[in-house]
Symmetry: C3
Subunit: 274 residues, 3 copies
């Protein structure tokens, strides 16, 4: 029994499993940036201990891009790459591929919409390592695509050190991604992740075999992978499917199904009402 979500201004048959799109309550880039600044201003007033940090990270910047760049560069800074080098690398990426910034905005909306512990945009931007890790991955992915593979690998390594999230730079992610808690997430080289996907901590999108070609999973739009889920090999998790914590998925799952167990078995066939 299909019960489509009904949101004013959005066609009745829209479901997150159809991919990312701005919803009526979503903010534009300028609106988000304005909101972020308001939150930061209020927090700096209420909590002077954080004022200097909020100024250097947000209030001292003239745009969302510059603030995001500063935050990521500081997290990634290490003896391998200094923050000044990183600021330049990230600035170039944002210019060459503006969709990276748009994806970051979609990811912020996803945090705000889908993480009950998130009620401020600044929380996501400043404090969620899953959000920061995925934005850094988008930069590594762009560099990989341009053939700057060793720089991409250096970033992957530093992302793993700093955020405990190991994503191969070649892996492809859609928009509206939520990596909740994030510790221990591992995503392999040929994995493809759709829009509006939520992954809890310790999720593995792993390889099987060492052959060439696709050896990692494809995760459809709107999928939810619980804590500690492993999806292994060239399998497809269909749009809108949900996989319970601790499950191991080694074969395809149909759209909108629910699966649990080691190995995962389908406990509910596809239904859009899920």
């Amino acid at each position: 029994v299909m019960q489509p979500i009904s949101i004013p201004g959005v066609p009745d048959d829209y479901h997150p499993s159809q991919g990312w799109r701005p919803l009526p309550h979503h903010l534009s880039k300028q609106e988000i940036w304005q909101r972020i600044r308001q939150e930061a201003k209020a927090d700096a007033d209420a909590e002077p201990t954080l004022a200097s940090f909020l100024y250097s990270s947000i209030l001292g910047h003239s745009s969302f891009e510059k603030s995001l760049n500063f935050i990521l560069a500081n997290k990634l800074a290490s003896p391998t790459l200094y923050s000044t080098q990183l600021v330049k690398i990230i600035e170039d990426c944002f210019k060459e591929e503006p969709s990276i910034v748009e994806a970051a905005l979609a990811d912020m909306q996803a945090c705000f919409d889908r993480d009950p512990a998130c009620d401020k945009y600044t929380q996501c931007l400043l404090y969620f390592k899953g959000f920061q890790a995925i934005q850094c991955h988008r930069i590594a992915h762009h560099l990989w695509g341009k053939g700057r593979k060793m720089l991409a690998v250096a970033l992957q390594s530093r992302i793993s050190e700093a955020f405990h999230v190991d994503i191969h730079p070649a892996a492809t992610f859609g928009r509206g991604i939520l990596l909740d808690h994030a510790t221990g997430v591992v995503v392999g080289e040929t994995a493809v992740v759709g829009d509006n996907v939520s992954m809890l901590h310790h999720v593995t999108l792993g390889g099987s075999g060492t052959g060439k070609g696709i050896r990692h999973p494809t995760i459809g739009h709107g999928v939810l992978l619980g804590a500690g889920v492993s999806v292994l090999g060239n399998v497809t998790v269909g749009c809108g499917a949900k996989v319970g914590a601790g499950s191991v998925v080694v074969s395809d799952l149909p759209c909108h199904s629910v699966a649990v167990g080691v190995p995962a078995r389908i406990v509910k066939q596809g239904s859009r009402s899920e």
Copy 2:
């Protein structure tokens, strides 16, 4: 067949599942601090490489509180909050809520009693990230309770970065907690953890649903959660229960039971002799 533990000086019917209490072999705060200083002195003599670190962390301080404060502030220091700011925050917390220091002492006794790899108090204080993470959480929890929520969230984020342990500041912990190895532990907003609880690494006390109200587990006194256990939703793990590694618990477990599997099934009914 109930076989209560018999400890000289402790009533015959005492069991860790009744909650934390000092046992005859436990040391007072002054005795622990004396012991810590003796251990540090002996280690500084035997291993001059560590002498400067032991002096700045322990031997140079006039009390247990000051040493613990210095150690935690140095671990948490980052561009978000400098160690000088952290020392002041922690000092105020310890003054406003002295039970935080008492809980730290109970946690040290728990490490010493229940972790076979721990035979010095300094080992726990200086080197166990699970111990350090839980003390930092106690500070974040105190700040959260006072309404300083963004500072609490900033600490939660830094605890996750530094110790790979993500505990929502609102989560409530008892005394005598052992987070062994600790990597990847995640505890949600409305979780309640009793006294004398031992959790191995990768344990998740996770939410189900996004509704308001209690959406995370309650863990009774004296519970043992093995490596990689997930307990999900508003369920109760009864006092003294044990859950085997890799299990996923989605329904209540009775006191003193033993459960294993995905999903967890009870393999032994409650018995205090466990």
Copy 3:
């Protein structure tokens, strides 16, 4: 049906489960060091952003040992032990126990041979935290063996902080070890790991009970442990066995068997052709 691997120059009946040995395509120490320098030179030319890092880590050093020492000391540096202290400690270890350097070379070959995402030696040396963690453990293990236990424990703690890998300094590892992704690996005090073992992230070689004596697993040569596998207690995983992701092993597995599940059950009896 046993189908031995046939490699020119290696006896037909050689299998990784017989232990580590140099294979015809393996490089000598001088050849690896030459290769590392060539890769670093080429990368520094192609990616000037990394040139300074590659010079300080590799090109500025006169030997493999000195480069490896510099890299590990920089990763481990913290207020507990400064990089200058660490360089001296590591230098002494390499002199006293040259087999540590040989094991590092065998581990590099293992990465190169068995990790499809590794096609350069520099990738392993500079960017793989699993490789770096195991080399640091070898140093902690050497110090433990010499009775410098608190220094070994300090290193264990720092390895857990820096690489999210917690290996007790007393645990024994063979050569040709691959810790792939590595986040969350935990290995207990009395564990013994053979040659040519591959472990994915979140693998636990854990204890059962708190008694004295052997309370952790023995892992035979050539074993593969998938992501999130827990092997618990004094059990033996036979040579060449494979354990599927998310499995919990609590009893012995025969050589060359394949096991999966919670608890793990054998799905394929031993066969050298696996």
